[in-house]
Symmetry: C2
């Protein structure tokens, strides 16, 4: 497995793969890999001839007061896991390599799709994501890039960016991977203490509650949302960032629960902000 | 010569060229071609195996009250000229093809490099340029893209964008092409009536005056700039937009005329806004 730190080396390798007619798969990550990431890697390995995993904690997508500094990192362990999966290349650049002095170019998707949900709580977050992912696309030259449904809004924003900037590649979304008890895998789960870990189940459980209500015929956005909020508020150590039920295509408002529906929430459990979501076809 | 109107057709053709090991050259234009454009095309033909000329009057780079509607267009004549040059493909999409309903993705370079000169007079102009050129790069997949030194600031902005977003290509700048009397070629020259055409010489002549002063040893920014302004103001039908002497690398201020220096000006001649510049190594 090749490990590249320099953009020019990574790009040269990717060009060579392209020239050799290989199909390149890219899995962009911030490292500290878990089974969610590995499910993307396995899908990429199944689809492609050469799989690149990028590992870069991107400062541009963290806001002031967020957890950029303490975000967990372990490149050695990550590379060990990826070697076992048979990944062909890891791209792990430094911040200075990605954003040299004087850097000032950004890529932005505007509208509801970035203004709502995590975009409202984390101003500038998606601009950071679309900028770094544009760079990764140009450096790694993938035919297919893999993203998790766990970050549903991120996947939607990136799909719009790829479509509108005409990147010559396809995005594949992979399903959320969960612990046995339902908690969605996240590198941030390591922040949780024992009590918070219990309370964190409130995210997946409130989504299960919403699904149940909808399956029983409930179509009112306010009543499902209200039930979720009430359920979360009854759980200790939790503080709701948002609970939303929106159009699953473009995050516009819904008059009723019908069609492609995204139920998404962000909840602070102790000091850890967790997200989860459910995409339904009603 | 192939003429493509659809992004998917153009991109498929470019992919095939790449797969066949061809080196692709791209000359992005807004059409109504003159010898300036054709000099870029000839350079591309000399360097590359497959040359694409894009023809698209990009609404995103025109401001309110600017000449988007009346900008001259003649696709038939343009294609005739390009066929004679042996160009392999023309990409001439519609506005709807490039910016479908709901379009909201932009690419932006910020800082002095876009805030000054034409960026100050035309807010949003460079965001329009970097956005459309990013799209053209992703659609046409060039190894080399050609831009004219006539739009010096545009070339600098695009070079910074390519470097910072890591586009897998090289930008080549080609020299300004001028009429026998010195007027820089521009599609907008057709707007000039006979008297204005004479007054328009003030742009190249004020640059010649600046060069002469600098060659005689003048190093003061204010005195060279002052002489240019005085000269222009003495010419009928002219209205100065800007006259600037700046660092030719990043458009920062200069304490004195030394190193890589860009002398750039924009002057309204009648109702037509014209630009010209001189890049010097002092």
């Amino acid at each position: 497995m090749e490990i590249f730190k320099k953009i020019s080396d990574m790009q040269a390798w990717s060009r060579d793969q392209r020239k050799a007619g290989k199909r390149i798969g890219l899995v962009p990550t911030m490292g500290y890999l878990h089974e969610g990431h590995l499910s993307l890697v396995r899908k990429a390995k199944a689809d492609c001839d050469a799989v690149i995993v990028s590992i870069f904690v991107n400062p541009l997508q963290f806001g002031v007061g967020e957890d950029y500094e303490e975000y967990p990192r372990d490149l050695t362990r990550d590379c060990g896991l990826l070697e076992k999966e048979g990944v062909e290349a890891v791209f792990a650049p430094s911040v200075r390599e990605m954003y040299p002095a004087g850097y000032s170019t950004t890529v932005e998707v505007s509208g509801d799709i970035t203004a709502r949900l995590c975009g409202a709580s984390r101003p500038g977050h998606f601009r950071g994501v679309t900028t770094v992912v544009s760079k990764l696309f140009n450096i790694c030259l993938p035919d297919i890039a893999y993203f998790g449904q766990k970050d549903a809004q991120q996947a939607m924003v990136l799909e719009k960016m790829v479509r509108e900037l005409n990147f010559p590649l396809k995005i594949v979304r992979c399903p959320i991977v969960r612990e046995a008890d339902g908690l969605a895998l996240s590198s941030r789960n390591v922040y949780l203490n024992e009590e918070e870990r219990k309370s964190a189940l409130v995210l997946s459980r409130s989504l299960a509650l919403a699904r149940e209500m909808i399956e029983k015929g409930e179509t009112g956005v306010a009543s499902v949302r209200g039930a979720m909020i009430e359920f979360i508020q009854s759980t200790p150590h939790t503080d709701i960032d948002y609970v939303e039920i929106l159009n699953g295509e473009d995050l516009s408002d819904l008059a009723e629960i019908k069609g492609k529906v995204l139920i998404a929430l962000a909840v602070r459990v102790g000091r850890t902000r967790l997200i989860d979501n459910l995409l339904l076809e009603v």
